[in-house]
C-alpha cells in the first residue's frame, strides 16, 4: 500500500505543479508585490527616477483614512453591495423557481434569455443602459412620462445614480445565480415534496420547509460569490457616470483605478486595494461563520 500511495502522491504533485507555478507567479507574487508597494510612496516622481521611492510604512494607509474620497467610495461600495447583492440573489431565486416550475413553457428559452446579459460585454451593456436612462431620449423616462410621472435624470441626479447602477448590475448578474439555483433545485429529491404534500403542506409551506432548507449550501455559494463580485464594482460607473454626479457612484475599485492609473499614485492605490481585500475577506468570513452556526 505504502509505495503505491507514494507514487500516487508524486503523480498528484506532478499534475498540480504547473497550476501551482502559474498561481504562484501570476497571483501570489503580484499580491505580495502589491502589499510591498502599499508600504512605499511610489508615485509619478518614482517612475522615471527609482531612487525617489522610499519605504513609507503605513503612511499610505494613514493618508487614506484621512481622505474624504476614500470614505465616500467605501460608503458607496457598501451601499451598492448590501442593496445590490441580496437583490441579485433574490431575483435569481425567483427566476429559478419560475423557470424550474412545471407550469412554465419553454424553460430552455427563459433560461437562455435570463442568462444572456451575464455573457454580454459589460461595456456594451453599460452604453446601452446609458441610453435607456437618458432623461430626454431614454425609454425609461418615456415610460414614466406615459404614466404621468415626472421624468428622472437617472444618471445625473446624485440620489438616483446609485439605484440606477444597482439596477443594471442586478439585471446583469442574476442570470448566473439563477443557473446555480436551478441546479440546486433539481438536486432536491422529489420524495421530499411528495412526503410534504402527503402531510398536507401547501405550496408556500413546501417552499419554506423543503426548498429553502435544501438550497442552503447553494445560498452560501451564491451569496459569497455575489458579494465578492459586487464589492468589485467598476465597469458600470466607469462607463456610465465616471463616478459622478457628486461622487455618488464612485466605488472603491474606481477610486483605486483613478489613484493608480490616472494619477499614478501606485503606493496609495495599492493601500486602497488591500483595504478592499480585507473588507471582502471579512464579509466572506462572516458569511461562512453564519452558515456554520446555522448548520450546527
Amino acid at each position: 500500500m505504502m509505495p503505491g500511495g507514494r507514487t500516487q502522491a508524486r503523480a498528484a504533485w506532478l499534475f498540480l505543479t504547473p497550476a501551482l507555478i502559474f498561481i504562484g507567479v501570476f497571483f501570489f507574487l503580484p499580491v505580495i508585490a502589491g502589499l510591498a508597494l502599499s508600504l512605499t510612496n511610489f508615485d509619478i516622481y518614482a517612475i522615471g527616477h527609482p531612487e525617489n521611492v522610499q519605504f513609507a510604512g503605513l503612511a499610505n494607509y494613514r493618508a487614506m483614512v484621512h481622505t474624504d474620497l476614500f470614505w465616500t467610495a467605501l460608503e458607496n461600495t457598501l451601499y451598492f453591495a448590501f442593496v445590490g447583492a441580496p437583490l441579485s440573489v433574490l431575483v435569481a431565486l425567483g427566476a429559478a423557481l419560475l423557470v424550474n416550475s412545471r407550469l412554465t413553457r419553454w424553460p430552455a428559452f427563459f433560461r437562455t434569455a435570463y442568462f444572456a446579459p451575464f455573457v454580454t460585454t459589460l461595456v456594451a451593456v453599460a452604453v446601452v443602459w446609458k441610453y435607456l436612462y437618458h432623461p430626454r431620449y431614454g425609454l425609461l423616462d418615456a415610460g414614466l412620462a406615459a404614466l404621468g410621472v415626472h421624468p428622472v435624470d437617472w444618471l445625473g441626479d446624485p440620489r438616483w445614480a446609485m439605484p440606477a447602477i444597482i439596477l443594471v448590475a442586478v439585471w446583469r448578474s442574476f442570470g448566473y445565480n439563477m443557473l446555480i439555483f436551478i441546479a440546486g433545485l433539481q438536486r432536491i429529491p422529489a420524495e421530499l415534496y411528495e412526503a410534504a404534500e402527503l402531510d398536507g403542506a401547501g405550496s408556500w409551506a413546501r417552499l419554506r420547509h423543503v426548498t429553502l432548507p435544501q438550497l442552503a449550501p447553494t445560498f452560501l455559494f451564491v451569496g459569497v460569490i455575489t458579494a465578492i463580485g459586487f464589492f468589485q464594482l467598476f465597469a458600470e460607473p466607469y462607463v456610465m457616470t465616471g463616478g459622478g454626479p457628486l461622487k455618488s457612484t464612485l466605488s472603491m475599485v474606481l477610486y483605486m483605478y483613478e489613484e493608480g492609473f490616472r494619477w499614478w499614485r501606485l503606493g496609495s492605490a495599492a493601500a486602497i486595494a488591500f483595504s478592499l481585500f480585507v473588507l471582502v475577506l471579512a464579509i466572506t468570513l462572516i458569511q461562512l461563520r453564519l452558515e456554520r452556526e446555522r448548520t450546527s
Binding site: 509619478i44 522615471g48 431620449y137 454626479p245 457628486l246
Partner: protein
C-alpha cells in the same frame, strides 16, 4: 530566438529604402485625425522619413501617455495638453528643446502668445512648442443682453453682476443669465487667477485656497449659483446645450474656442447674428480679465531614436502656413500671432475676442500634480454649490487635501536643496 512581430514590415521597409526612418506621432482626439492630412506633404519634403500617426481619444490620453512611458513604448513626437508638460518633465520623458529652438529658422518664441509659451517652460528649459491654443471666454446672446439694457458685453465683475441681475429679473425661474458647468475646473480657476490668487503658494508647495484672493473668486463663483444666476448642473446633464442656448435658456456661457464651429453648425441660420463672444470680464475691469493659458504643445520624447527627424516634424507643423492650414481643417486657434493674419481667421469676429484674451493669459501652476489638483478643485467646489457644504469648510478641506498631495513635492524640493547645499558645505 525571439522574432519581433513586425519582422515582415521591417524587411519591407528595408527593401523600400535603406535609410528609411519611421516616426511615430501620437495625436489626441480630432487633432489626431486632422494631422494625418498634413503629414503627406512632410513626407514629400523629407524623403526617407515616414510618419505613422496614431490617434488617441482625449478621455484616455493622460493614462495612455503615462502607461506608454512606463512600458517604454513612447512615440517620437506627441501632442500634449500643455498643463501636462510639467508632469512629463518630472518623469524625464521629454527632450529639452532650447538649443533646437535657438538654431531654428521656423520657431521664434517672440511670435507666440507669451502666456501660452510660458506653459512649456519648466525650470527655465523649454520642453514643448505650442501648437494650438485654448482658453475660456464668454459666449453670449447679444439680443438678450440688449433687452436687459446692456448694449456691450460686461468688462468688469461689477458690470457682469449687474447684467446677470437684470437678466434674472426679466427671465424668471426657468431661464438663467449664465451657464457655468459645475464639473469643470476652468471657470473657477480662471476667476481665481483674475482675483490674483497664485492657486498654489511658496513655490507651489502649499495650496492658497483659504487666502483672501481665492476666497474672493470662490465667493463670486458660488454666488452665481446661490443667487440663481447659473443652474446647478454639470456639463453632461444638459441634453443639448446648443438647443438651450438657441431657446434663450442661457444668455451667457463660459466655454472654449471649439464652440465657435459648433455654434455655426448647430444654431439655426436666423440666430447666427445674435450670438457673439467677449473676453472674460475682470474684477477691476478689462485689464484684470485674464484667462487660462490652455492648448496643446508638440513635444519630442527623450527616448526617440530619431530626434533630429522628430524635431523636423515639430518645425514643419509649426510653420505659419501649416498653422493656418491646421486652423482651417480643425478650427483650432493658432498659437503664433503671425498665423492670425490668415484672411479667414482675421475676418472672424467670434475669434477676435479669443485673440484679445490670448494676449492676457496666465499659466496654471507648473507642477506635475496639477491635473489631480484641478480635479479636486471642482470636486470641492461642487460640494459647496451642490452638496450643501459651507464654503469655509469646503475650502479648508480642499486646502488640506492639496497640501497632502503636495507633501511629496515638498520632500523632493527639500532634498534637492540639501543636495545642492552639501558640496559647498563639505568641500573643505
Amino acid at each position: 530566438m525571439r522574432v519581433p512581430p513586425a519582422w515582415p514590415l521591417v524587411l519591407l521597409a528595408a527593401c523600400h529604402s535603406s535609410t528609411a526612418v519611421t516616426l511615430d506621432f501620437w495625436g489626441l482626439g480630432r487633432e489626431g485625425e486632422v494631422v494625418a492630412q498634413l503629414v503627406p506633404e512632410f513626407e514629400r519634403e523629407n524623403p526617407g522619413v515616414r510618419v505613422r500617426v496614431q490617434q488617441i481619444p482625449w478621455t484616455a490620453a493622460h493614462e495612455k501617455l503615462l502607461t506608454a512611458y512606463v512600458g517604454r513604448s513612447t512615440p517620437d513626437v506627441a501632442q500634449l495638453g500643455n498643463t501636462w508638460v510639467p508632469e512629463f518633465v518630472a518623469l524625464g520623458a521629454l527632450l529639452p528643446l532650447d538649443s533646437a529652438i535657438a538654431r531654428s529658422r521656423v520657431v521664434h518664441p517672440a511670435d507666440y502668445f507669451t502666456g501660452i509659451w510660458a506653459t512649456n517652460v519648466v525650470d527655465r528649459a523649454v520642453y514643448g512648442v505650442p501648437w494650438y491654443v485654448d482658453t475660456r471666454i464668454l459666449f453670449y446672446r447679444r439680443d438678450l443682453l440688449a433687452q436687459a439694457g446692456f448694449a456691450a458685453p460686461p468688462r468688469s465683475w461689477a458690470e457682469w453682476l449687474r447684467a446677470m441681475a437684470a437678466l434674472k429679473a426679466r427671465d424668471g425661474p426657468h431661464r438663467w443669465p449664465i451657464y457655468v458647468p459645475t464639473n469643470e475646473w476652468q471657470p473657477i480657476v480662471t476667476l481665481a487667477l483674475q482675483a490674483g490668487s497664485p492657486i498654489l503658494k511658496d513655490t507651489a508647495q502649499y495650496g492658497a485656497f483659504t487666502d483672501p484672493p481665492f476666497r474672493r473668486a470662490f465667493d463670486f463663483y458660488a454666488d452665481l449659483y446661490t443667487r440663481g444666476y447659473a443652474p446647478r448642473v454639470g456639463i453632461t446633464e444638459v441634453g443639448n446645450i446648443y438647443q438651450e442656448f438657441a431657446r434663450g435658456t442661457y444668455a451667457m456661457w463660459i466655454t472654449g474656442p471649439w464652440n465657435i464651429g459648433e455654434f455655426r453648425r448647430r444654431l439655426p441660420p436666423n440666430q447666427q447674428k445674435i450670438w457673439a463672444t467677449a473676453p472674460m470680464p475682470g474684477p477691476e475691469g478689462a485689464a484684470s480679465g485674464v484667462g487660462l493659458a490652455g492648448g496643446s504643445s508638440l513635444v519630442v520624447y527623450r527616448a526617440s531614436r530619431h530626434q533630429a527627424e522628430a524635431w523636423k516634424l515639430v518645425e514643419y507643423l509649426s510653420r505659419v502656413d501649416l498653422e493656418e492650414r491646421f486652423y482651417r481643417l480643425s478650427g483650432d486657434l493658432p498659437a503664433r500671432r503671425d498665423a492670425w493674419r490668415d484672411p479667414v481667421l482675421a475676418a472672424d469676429a467670434a475669434a477676435r475676442a479669443f485673440y484679445e484674451q490670448l494676449e492676457r493669459v496666465v499659466p496654471t501652476p507648473p507642477v506635475p500634480e496639477w491635473e489631480l489638483i484641478a480635479t479636486r478643485i471642482f470636486d470641492y467646489g461642487e460640494q459647496a454649490i451642490r452638496g450643501g457644504v459651507p464654503r469655509d469648510t469646503a475650502l479648508a478641506r480642499l486646502e488640506r487635501e492639496v497640501n497632502q498631495i503636495l507633501a511629496r513635492r515638498r520632500w523632493l524640493l527639500a532634498r534637492n536643496a540639501a543636495r545642492a547645499a552639501a558640496p559647498a558645505g563639505g568641500g573643505r
